[in-house]
């Protein structure tokens, strides 16, 4: 097994009285896809924000490769190789789809022509090429989710954090996205950490799944094991799943 790219060790975050993330530890191997699931309010997005540097953990450490990135600011987190999407999408509405992705692509170099070419290849990959000239504000929600992914990918991350990018997609679109991510991981060695409520996607994509409940890790393992776990079924999947 290859080395771990991302390692969380005893990460805890409290908001006033509420412990949103409670002593969570797990690791994502280089080139791996880890699915983070759990009911609403389980702490998934908070955990993402801790990794991406939006919040600083109250205790515990986060390591990317050999580097301690605990409490690093968001733009530094991007500099060390973390790309992220936002669950409530945040496109640059007044900019075109292409310009949105170019903002990300500029992270790789200051030349506008190079950034534009690279942005185009990313748009092709996420099936947004025909929308390149449109203002981002005119996109549908599933398209905006893809734009979030495109923009983050354009920065050239080692670790991509996907926060519910499949929500609102039709089953065939989900399958297309799953294939896109699988191809990315296979071809570029990208590592992915995703949260998702769409089980079809999580089960198909994830090599490993971590289940959060009330901020605590209650289960970890390969998809088939997690799907049969009694605690997981009780608090999240339900008996029908």
């Amino acid at each position: 097994m290859s080395a771990n790219l991302l390692t969380l060790d005893g990460v805890t975050k409290r908001f006033r009285g509420l412990t949103a993330v409670d002593n969570v530890s797990f690791a994502v191997p280089q080139g791996g896809i880890l699915g983070l699931i759990g009911p609403n309010g389980a702490g998934k997005t908070t955990l993402f924000n801790l990794i991406a540097g939006v919040f600083r953990p109250d205790s515990g450490s986060i390591t990317l490769g050999e580097r301690d990135i605990t409490g690093m600011s968001p733009h530094h987190a991007c500099n060390v190789g973390i790309g992220r999407t936002f669950q409530l999408v945040r496109p640059f509405g007044a900019l075109s789809v292409l310009q949105n992705v170019m903002v990300g692509a500029f992270h790789r170099g200051a030349d506008p022509a190079t950034a534009e070419r690279y942005a185009h290849t990313i748009l092709e990959r996420l099936a947004l090429a025909d929308k390149a000239a449109q203002p981002a504000a005119s996109l549908t929600l599933p398209e905006r989710k893809r734009l979030e992914v495109a923009r983050a990918l354009a920065t050239g991350p080692r670790l991509l954090l996907l926060d519910e990018v499949m929500a609102g997609l039709r089953p065939t679109e989900i399958d297309t996205m799953v294939r896109t991510f699988e191809a990315l991981v296979h071809e570029t060695g990208l590592t992915i950490l995703l949260t998702e409520h769409v089980m079809r996607a999580v089960m198909a994509l994830s090599h490993q799944i971590v289940v959060l409940h009330h901020g605590q890790k209650i289960c970890e393992g390969p998809p088939e094991t997690v799907a049969r776990d009694a605690k997981v079924i009780e608090c999240y999947l339900g008996s029908g799943a």
Binding site: F86, A94, V103, G104, A110, P112, R151
Partner: protein, 323 residues
């Protein structure tokens, strides 16, 4: 398609500049002074637009940078005979440093939005009071540049006719237009727009939001100061009470708001409309002789424009002209 559009835009711009370039030959001195007011408003609007229109940071204290540019260049000239061009550079550096300082102080402590806008007003007011008691530059009694009547224009010492200032200001407006267009196509321009649209998303893409805002503020302040220096040599007198006023700061932001914040032509179009409107109101007012009527109609027209075209006149005009 784009080539055709670019050609149409270029033709329109060249025609506009041509008209402005030949206008002084056909106009009386009074109208030339009105056009100077227009060009100054356009240039100041362009400078402010870099900060608000591109980087999304609202400053209502730009009179400060205008005043610093004016006072630094004028004082250096009056006291030590420093050429206005060097004074202009010194003014731009001082104003840029002041802008950077205010931005660093505000953004480091998370002062943004309306609170930042209030802070920019406050700094202008401090400076106003400071200059009223700053005897080296004349205090509240004012600072005066020696007026010399020359047979010809002295461009080196910026002593000359309104026409000389008119062409200098026209060149500055075109320069600011070119600079704005250039910056918007570079990485820094993209970063500014990203910061304006969503600072958090911008940070997630590796953009140092603090530095981006700081750069916008420094550049905007420096450019604003250059207009102050030039106008000091045009007006030949400086009083803190007329230079460092929030009324001036508001004047600076009105043209780009009317013309279209964040657009390249917005500040120019807005300044043109405001100047023409102001002159028309003055004429109407003079024939009716009712005090305050000008302000009444002027504000009414502004409210109407903002209601009908909230994103400014230029985006609308651009569609009409298919540019």
């Amino acid at each position: 398609m784009t080539g055709e559009l670019d050609r149409r835009r270029l033709v329109a711009l060249v025609a506009f500049v041509f008209v402005l370039a030949v206008l002084p030959f056909f106009l009386a001195d009074y109208f030339l002074s009105v056009l100077i007011v227009f060009l100054v408003a356009a240039y100041l609007g362009q400078s402010w637009n870099i900060m608000m229109g591109f980087a999304g940071q609202l400053s209502i204290g730009h009179a400060l940078y205008y005043g610093l540019g004016a006072y630094v260049a004028a004082a250096l000239y009056v006291h030590w005979g420093v050429l206005p061009w060097f004074g202009m550079i010194a003014g731009a550096v001082v104003a840029g440093a002041a802008g950077a300082g205010i931005a660093a102080l505000s953004f480091r402590f998370g002062v943004t939005g309306v609170y930042f806008a209030l802070l920019t007003i406050a700094f202008n007011e401090f400076t106003h009071i400071l200059f009223n008691h700053f005897s080296w530059v004349g205090g509240s009694a004012g600072l005066f540049l020696p007026v010399v009547n020359l047979a010809h224009n002295d461009f080196v010492h910026l002593r000359g006719s309104p026409a000389m200032f008119y062409y200098l200001l026209l060149a500055m407006v075109l320069g600011a237009l070119g600079l704005s267009r250039f910056l918007l196509r570079r990485r820094i321009g993209y970063y500014w727009l990203a910061i304006r649209e969503d600072p958090e998303a911008a940070a997630s893409l590796g953009i140092d939001v603090f530095r981006g805002k700081l750069a916008a503020m420094t550049l905007s302040a420096s450019l604003t100061a250059i207009a102050g220096s030039v106008m000091a040599f045009y007006d030949n007198n400086l009083y803190p009470d007329t230079i460092f006023t929030t009324a001036r700061s508001v004047e600076i932001i009105t043209a780009p708001i009317i013309g279209g914040i964040g657009t390249l032509m917005g500040p120019i179009v807005g300044a043109l409309v405001l100047t023409v409107l102001g002159e028309a109101m003055t004429t109407v007012n003079a024939s009716l002789g009712i005090a305050g009527l000008k302000q009444f109609f002027y504000s009414g027209a502004l409210v109407l424009i903002v209601l009908v075209q909230p994103s400014g006149l230029w985006p609308w005009l651009k569609r009409q002209l298919r540019l």
